[in-house]
Point group: C2
Chain length 308, copies 2
């Protein structure tokens, strides 16, 4: 008889939900299934309930990777989650089944996945940042997640990289790291530079007004060797560096992992060289994430299974 | 027979070394003794050795709070320590005696002391910053110290609060938090503001050239109601706030403790209000440290004794 413990593990996002059965070694026991995330909290609850019933006899625990800060008991989300329906934070996931249910924030799941079987394998001190529309983060410190008093730690996107109210963030505050170094930040940087840089007149995008520039215009331009796009990219890396070197000095990690939709555009070798030249702590390795879209499911499963 | 375990606990600083026997409840079993720190590594080793011999039969462990990053085995300092003699990082403290020896960084000892019996008593998620000539820090996360890969975590003084190379720090890098928000930072802020502020002409210090201003001039001026000094103080608090709100978003602590020689000048209520208005995580309490000059000794003793 197979005594390996197994999790039915979900990754719930604003548009889609993925799930699979994953064992305690991080192996997929079933293939992944992808569904559209329902548009009400009640329908989300029912979706989970039905899938759990179908798989009930094959699993030891239900694990869920989700956006939002998760309570210290790992049973519910305790903050608003902009891309999920109203009422979502009211779901008490422990009521889904009589088996144990374990819920964790998606960035925490992702850093755990990278630590368990990805780019930071066996690095007990790992920092991960996720570059997307915003910036998220997760830290493993001496083999344990840093979760904070209410499970909301690593809101690194809100770290301030200027102290003089220079640029307003979409959150209403000023100078959040993510307003400079996320995908949105790349666009903000492009718009600001297009208004002053003489290179813009010779750019691929010169026929656009600066305010029409998109993140994609810059990644495409950089790929095609457009000089203006390269300059924007270079400034964007400077902003990524500014926040990242502070986080390295704060956490003294062995490995830094960069993930997220915009993470693939980050030049990890250049960032590693810059950080190790300027940081006051031991040199780090900077790497792209390796567990990709499965990171949430894998991390949730492994974190949940170690609690059994 | 008394079965309470006891540490002979030292706090070694650049000019003086203090020690006492402290029990596992944080109580002082002996009075504190203060000595001048010897001027060579060999003499420091001999000082420790002699004091340990005198107290050998009364103690279970020797604990040492020191400047500098400490190795993961807690037996030696692994970075240069500017105020201690050359050769100090070569001392292998475990060779002092056949009893267990436990060495820890002074900021880590101090945050542990505040968590065990000070301003953050029983707050398992605590952030402490030390405002002095520079800025140091320590964090307790879920009841454990955040130490990092090589024991060098919480170099918060090097966090960047500008991303455009505005002000050079004494360390040679640009825009370190401590070049704005430490005691040195208060002076830097005063010098910069004296050169542009119209209030300086009416200040107590108007007969000084800006470059002659000292940290003490500003703390004294603020105490006497000097308007220019008040403006400098206000800007200094803005700089403290900028770094601190980022750290609160990063660590999601229950309590923030401010210590250090300049810490007493920080307006903790004002900082608490500002942080709780702007941070994206759960509101924090901001407090002055309570265990003062004993924090290093108490923290080292309690951290060491829990390893027995």
């Amino acid at each position: 008889m197979d005594s390996t413990k197994k999790a039915l593990s979900f990754d719930i996002g604003g548009t889609k939900t993925i799930y699979a059965i994953i064992d305690e070694n991080g192996n997929f026991v079933t293939q992944k299934t992808k569904l559209a995330t329902p548009d009400t909290a009640d329908k989300i609850f029912d979706m989970f309930k039905n899938i759990i019933e179908e798989n009930y006899t094959d699993i030891d625990i239900v694990t869920i990777s989700t956006a939002g800060a998760v309570n210290l008991e790992n049973t519910r989300v305790c903050s608003s989650t902009p891309n999920l329906p109203a009422g979502y934070p009211d779901i008490e996931f422990s009521k889904l089944t009589d088996k144990k249910v374990f819920v964790e924030n998606d960035a925490n799941c992702a850093v755990w996945s990278e630590y368990a079987c990805g780019a930071a394998k066996d690095c007990k001190n790992t920092l991960m940042i996720t570059l997307g529309t915003g910036i998220g983060g997760g830290v493993v410190s001496n083999g344990e997640l840093v979760r904070g008093y209410t499970g909301a730690a690593l809101e690194v996107g809100s770290m301030k990289i200027f102290a003089d109210k220079r640029q307003k963030c979409t959150c209403g505050r000023y100078d959040c790291w993510e307003s400079y170094a996320s995908g949105t930040g790349l666009r903000n940087t492009a718009v600001a530079m297009a208004k002053t840089s003489p290179e813009y007149k010779n750019s691929l995008h010169k026929d656009k007004s600066p305010d029409e520039l998109t993140t994609y215009d810059i990644t495409e331009g950089e790929d095609k060797g457009d000089r203006f796009s390269e300059l924007v990219f270079s400034q964007w890396h400077e902003y990524i560096f500014t926040g990242l070197v502070s986080l390295v000095d704060i956490f003294n990690p062995e490995t830094v992992v960069i993930s997220g939709g915009m993470g693939k555009f980050a030049n990890v070798l250049q960032l590693e060289e810059r950080i190790n030249k300027e940081s006051v702590v031991t040199p780090v390795k900077v790497k792209h994430a390796q567990t990709g879209n499965d990171a949430g499911m894998i991390g949730a499963a492994l974190l949940g299974l170690r609690k059994l």
